[in-house]
Amino acid sequence: MSAAPHTLLKPVIVGAGPAGIRAAEALVAAGLRPVVIDEAARWGGQIYRQPPEGGFVRPKSALYGFEAGKADAVHRAMATIRDRVDYRPRTLAWNCEERALDLLCDGATEVLPFSHLILATGATDRVLPFPGWTTPGVFTLGGSQVALKFQGCAVGRRVTFLGTGPLLYLVAYQYLKAGVEVAGVFDTAPFDAQARAAAGMLRDPATLAKGLCYVGWLRAHGVTIRNNVRPVRVEGGERVEALVWTQDGREERTPCDAVAFGLGLRSETQLADLAGCRFRFDAMDRAWLPERDPAGRSSVAGVYLAGDGSGIAGADAAEAAGERAALALLEDAGLAFAHERAATLDHKLARIAAFRRALSAAFPFPDDWAGAIADDTMVCRCEGVTAGALRAVATTGQAREINRAKALTRAGMGRCQGRMCGAATTELLARALGTGPDGVGRLRAQPPIKPLPVAAEPASGGSAS
């Protein structure tokens, strides 16, 4: 790409979490004025999400615990560049084609052309279905954390924590600290997984120490922690009354009024898909991810990927990857960029990636779960599609891949576009077809990537066509 005057560059960043903010900061430092688009009303992303403005009083130490310093630094970075970016909060980027984004803000649509695009779209909890998982009182782990951090609410009075991953112990710890009864922490990982992965996790002793602190605090307060758990069902029709679970074939029942649930995170890749990025199957994330080079370049010139939206690596990696993608953008645009800083970031990202491999060994995906889902269990929350319906289209030969299964069953076709059922649908079809999760294809994104109100109109007036 040839050198262009600054004024001809229209860089756009989607996402104002740690990756998006650090990317914006680096572009501003180079004299550019990026557009920063974010769905939330305030910057910070999910991990460093800020409470709404007005009346909320908890200090950052209470909201973010050990990460308060990092959260504050990211928040301040954005506050510092606020006047030098075109910041668009409460704005959904719902499509990307021909080097322009379609936006929706306060009911009005807008087409925003870009010269360069940095996608820092983040992640949400990865989930698999079990009987009763749509019962009021079952929330994702991330959602349970949002309730506490963003609203000062607990999802129940007596909460069980189910699933695996660092968030399982972090959120349980945060609930206990907030004075909520933690009825149990039920980890799907085998008993010895974390012990076996300890050597790898020593690559980042500070993070390991924090994890051990959460577990230690929970144990010191008498919280039941079990490993190798699988859920049997949530009891209670109108709301959660108990979680029934098994460990090594023994069934137990834990009375509770809420279940916080998640199996690690899954990347939000829809915009990268619509931007035309090439995808590859990532065995560690068990998901199709947009290809990116170590600096964050996608397969499409001028489109960059940073943070958990293109592979799960956590908030520290997101900060580094956001800045690194911005430096790659500057380099590709023929502008001056800090070579040494880029090398430092490359080194940091490689180190975090090694730690992340150990983390995924400590909290492995329960790959037997999908095979054990009963036929009458609802897989797709939006359209009420059962596991049996999905298995049927596979075993009768009607669907050999996931998009055909979606067309036939409507799983993944509802409002969430497969965000909540995609992992389960993939695993179920793979089992039914006798292949791996990489063998059933990739659920393709469709615009709009989230539902739009019927009344949405162009911001500048004119016809809605």
């Binding site: 403005e53 009021p136 929330f139 949002v146 609410c153 709301r239 009420g384 539902p451």
Partner: protein, 96 residues
């Protein structure tokens, strides 16, 4: 009975709204989801399965928290804030 429990940030201004025809209170800065679930235990019934729903991800991904106003407007409860005088509905089935 309330699904969500307030454990902090109780000192905010009171917001009055109507839920299923009954006057109730929330706090300024509450999402519609928080406002409804601190006054009840569901947001709506699923239009496909006739089961109660109360949201799931709370971060705008799962789309399971859409609610109705009395005049038929649809709002994503986790991403919209409660306002004085809103009239929200959690009972009855959706016509989709």
């Amino acid at each position: 009975m309330a699904l969500l429990q307030r454990v902090a940030e109780r000192g905010r201004r009171v917001v009055r709204f109507v839920l299923d025809g009954r006057p109730v209170e929330a706090l300024e800065g509450d999402t519609i989801l928080t406002a409804m679930l601190t006054n009840g235990d569901r947001l709506r019934r699923s239009e496909f399965a006739d089961t109660p729903r109360a949201g799931f991800c709370l971060m705008g991904a799962c789309q399971d928290c859409w609610v109705r106003t009395e005049d038929g407007q649809r709002l994503r409860a986790c991403g919209s804030f409660i306002e004085d005088g809103m009239r929200l509905v959690s009972e009855g089935e959706w016509q989709s």
